[in-house]
Symmetry: D2
């Protein structure tokens, strides 16, 4: 089999460089080109010295990346991927967008939260939301993938079994998420300046984060009815990892056994979702640098609440890893190819 030629546009952002790391070690992939607007003409290892001798490829233009690739990963600010997707599809290439341009079905919602328009409605009609474990069949036939946001991935994998099974109320779901700082990207801000971020912890964009509509859209699809949530993200002083703590009211007469069965059957055959045994707690440390999502659930019988905790590495299952997983599905190769990284433990 010929190797799949992959290109990355936006290779010098955090998600981009994580893609480089994964694709460089992918068994059936050739990293054909890396692109960067900010660093065009410079080697990616000049920006990330960790890559010296590993990937010294020089950043080129988007056009060059597209020309060299069978599939393009776009890790660029929202609004910019639509044009790239158009060009890719025109040339018969596939595009996986790590940004937000192809995540929302509703153009009005996109415009409301991101302030841009959908330029190619027909592209959005055929684009697929690539939360692999939930929409695998659609991904297989897709040409354009909207790779899910990091928070929505952690939430949807955590709640899918009980929403699909109709075990919890679809109103009043509270989602309290905490993300490592790579989630804020490589751009400099006062809030991510070390002395102001280290030994700090805060909530931000309370009930006003752009991932809210994406979460509700996905949960509603899973539940096959409208789901509303309250979503509060927090900035966690670690490099990698998201932990979402989710509170939902159990429907009357739902037993612990039913919940257990729902999680077990949902993920028994999934390579990347681990439902922890009773007594174990999820920890962002246990999935660091891997494509795993670990899930643990609890019933607070005192209040009739189901509590779900779910962790991912925001840069892997929450971005680059899931993007590669989508690529694997799209190209019909082993879904775990290139993604067998073992969490680093510490």
């Amino acid at each position: 089999m010929n190797k799949i030629k992959c290109g990355i546009i936006g290779a010098t952002g955090y998600a981009g460089v994580e893609l480089v790391r994964i694709l460089m070690r992918h068994p059936v992939v050739e990293l054909a080109a890396v692109g960067s607007v900010s660093f065009e003409g410079k080697p990616v290892s000049g920006i990330y010295p960790s890559l010296r001798g590993v990937c010294d490829m020089v950043c080129v233009s988007s056009d060059e990346v597209i020309a060299a690739s069978d599939v393009v990963f776009a890790a660029v600010p929202h609004g910019l991927s639509q044009e790239l997707a158009f060009q890719c599809t025109e040339k018969g290439k596939k595009l996986i967008d790590l940004g937000a341009d192809f995540r929302l079905d509703d153009a009005a919602e996109y415009e409301k939260w991101y302030g841009c328009e959908y330029k190619y409605p027909q592209l959005h009609d055929k684009a697929v939301y690539g939360l692999c474990e939930l929409f695998r069949d659609s991904v297989a036939g897709a040409d354009v993938i909207g790779n899910p946001g990091c928070y929505p991935t952690s939430v949807a994998l955590g709640l899918a079994p009980v929403l699909r099974g109709g075990l919890v109320e679809t109103r009043g779901i509270m989602i309290d998420s905490k993300s490592g700082v790579t989630g804020a990207g490589r751009g400099l801000t006062q809030g991510t300046h070390f002395p102001e971020c280290n030994e700090a912890f805060s909530a931000y964009k309370v009930a006003a984060h752009r991932h809210s509509p994406e979460i509700e859209q996905t949960l509603s699809k899973i539940a096959d009815m409208e789901v509303t949530v309250t979503f509060v993200p927090h900035l966690l002083p670690v490099n990698r990892g998201i932990l979402s703590t989710i509170y939902a009211r159990l429907l009357p007469d739902v037993s612990e056994e039913q919940v257990a069965a729902a999680y077990e059957s949902a993920y028994a055959d999934e390579a990347f979702v681990r439902v922890l045994p009773k007594g174990a707690c999820v920890d962002v440390r246990s999935v660091k640098c891997s494509n795993y999502c670990d899930v643990q659930w609890y019933i607070d019988s005192h209040t009739g609440t189901l509590i779900v905790t779910s962790v991912i590495d925001n840069m892997v299952k929450g971005a680059a890893g899931q993007a590669v997983q989508n690529m694997n599905i799209m190209f019909g190769i082993d879904e775990t190819a290139g993604l067998d990284m073992i969490p680093t433990a510490f």
Copy 2:
């Protein structure tokens, strides 16, 4: 005025050493004696080199501490303070317990969560729960104080205005708290070993933490009706600080103005509670090493949810600072004496 003679039993634990720091700089206090079972006969600065030349007092027995003091701070494992309180009251001294022995009204609840009995029921009848801003009048006349737990302090101060005002439902309150590692104390555990705690984040004792009954007891008193909560604590990889994110359903027709007024009136005259202006976010960093509690609230009109975020330094307002604030009230001196520490900013 003669200086108040203070003693600390359990001076070498984290809350104990924070008491040393505060009391050494308190204008109307003399630190008369420090006690430690583990380090009796050793100077406290031998265990905490930071105190060298500041406090080189040698740790003595509990009896010696009580004998030397007008008021005793007990920062010892639960179950041990009851005897100390008995001795103090017998000798006409006051006791402020930083542990859990005098927090719960119901002996059965105490036994259920802590596995010990109430040995001196009459002492528990007269002991006062020292959440200063809420029960100041009772504190003033007390001889034995149960100093509140760190989590309950952050939660009660966050919710009191709306519970007291009857603005939220008393059922279905979700409390998602995150605590710095000093909250786990000085004792060694695998989970607080640096390489397993750093760059990590996890939920623990989900819906099963000992602070749950204390939270419900306090909120019920404030609301004057039974309040139930779901409480999930998390271990945050920072030294100091608690942030609680609290989700409650607004009652129908409650307006944003009513909520604003409730917070404003509740804390307008409080020295240590700061309600942030709209647009500002609480951060554990902004209260570090101080006795402040910062509060911010939000209404998610999409779901009718009130979200309250509240931060304290778990070692100060969550332990030693509040204990000193209680002492100030008990002795009729300026409530802020010795507690004017400015947060360190970084």
Copy 3:
């Protein structure tokens, strides 16, 4: 006694805000005005929410600060303090410069390392280098103080006793320093962006840091002969603290007792320098948020090397604290006034 009116120019930088913290609690000082070019017209608590309710003073212009003050603290980029000093002296006010403009005796060295000229040579002639423990007498009579750099403070206090005593060779001194990230200031850089600074550690400006000439100048004054050093700073992923490890060759026949006596006699009467007892190690944690400098020394008899380790809080003894100590000396008040902060322990 009337309170001393203090002003801070550059109050919103890290050293500036640390000055605010200290001066707000100084017993014989009134913080008269705070200045900031970047944030003129805004309250300092708008930039540092930790100060809300503590110091809500609005930032004014430099001229206004000078007009309102008896003594001005300048915490501004190098090159800007000379003009401020000129204005202050013209108006009979004192100036303490936390920057580099008044640290180097030699105008050529200043120009070489900082790229600016000395505009008022006569000012530089009368300016005093304010390393309090070493040049206290000169400070007492000064109108303009060059407050020492953070690295030079840690190094000079560590080496002074043996250099003054002529116990070590003045050539071949190696200084390996490690500084917390606040030392890099509030300005944003890629290297201080949390995900690139956290879990990282690097040397920078190896043998090329601007503090090198200041270190050599100070050590030469102490030794009363030319001292040369090799100085390598490192960026430490903590907020506060400097640890300098210093390697010097012991002169022949110098005994351990002589070294011990040198340190003991040098610092026996110093309030802020603590020479640790044998067996104890310095730790940046033990001086955090205080004006202490802790020193420990070792003799490696195997190679005839004296190893000195010295720690300070770079923001306090390395900047704002020492500046206030200088002010105390200049105004003839208790040298420790306002500086009795106890290290936070954690």
Copy 4:
């Protein structure tokens, strides 16, 4: 080719679990057995939840590990590997000791620093010190390997080119090393308890660390003459990584070109040593989770000093990675097999 059967004794320590991670993904290796005294009978993924579903092997006895393996990795406290090595050689198996039992040539030095005796002198005679880049030929024929200490690896790779070339003085070398906390192991201590290690930094075992004799032995072999050093280790509040800053006096008339040539020729063909281009600085972050050693050097012409900075991941090139590299050499397979991990960048 049949897969090499590997066993790990001490699989639940930090070096042990890192070996599990590497060997599980090694292309020509089968992880045959894992052993642990503390956790015999338990799955390794019970101790490290990160390994759940990746390696759920149950810990067995040392005898069982040896029986199942072609090569045994021993990651046990010093003193215990000698017996294991004896058993392995009796049974025709190879042993790679990650501890200190086979590092020192001189039994008296071992006894002095480690307090144990050499029980099988003939084993020590044939054991090889496995610093791959320096002693590759000897490793190839060895049955027992003393895998180098983490500090000595970083130092020897940093200094080898100039010592071998006779470019620096062999006296007066100062080594200032800083290690992440995993270097202290999994065992609990007060100094590695999160609140006392986080935001802290200290020197320890100053000029008295067990790695000193190992460093001098290795450097003396390289220089082919006696080398003495002063070695000061520090505890760095990060999980992984060692940075050593090394100070040596350049011999007269040695030019920058000679130094450059020495480094270039020494490592041009090495897969795991990267000499950085001028202007770049080493950072522990750039080698994290990889087997790389990055080296940068500087000449301080002001004092005639060569400064070398060198970084490794203490758990990989400083322990498990180098052990696997040794195994690869011993078995005549590609030296980089299983070791192509790309540093994580953040």
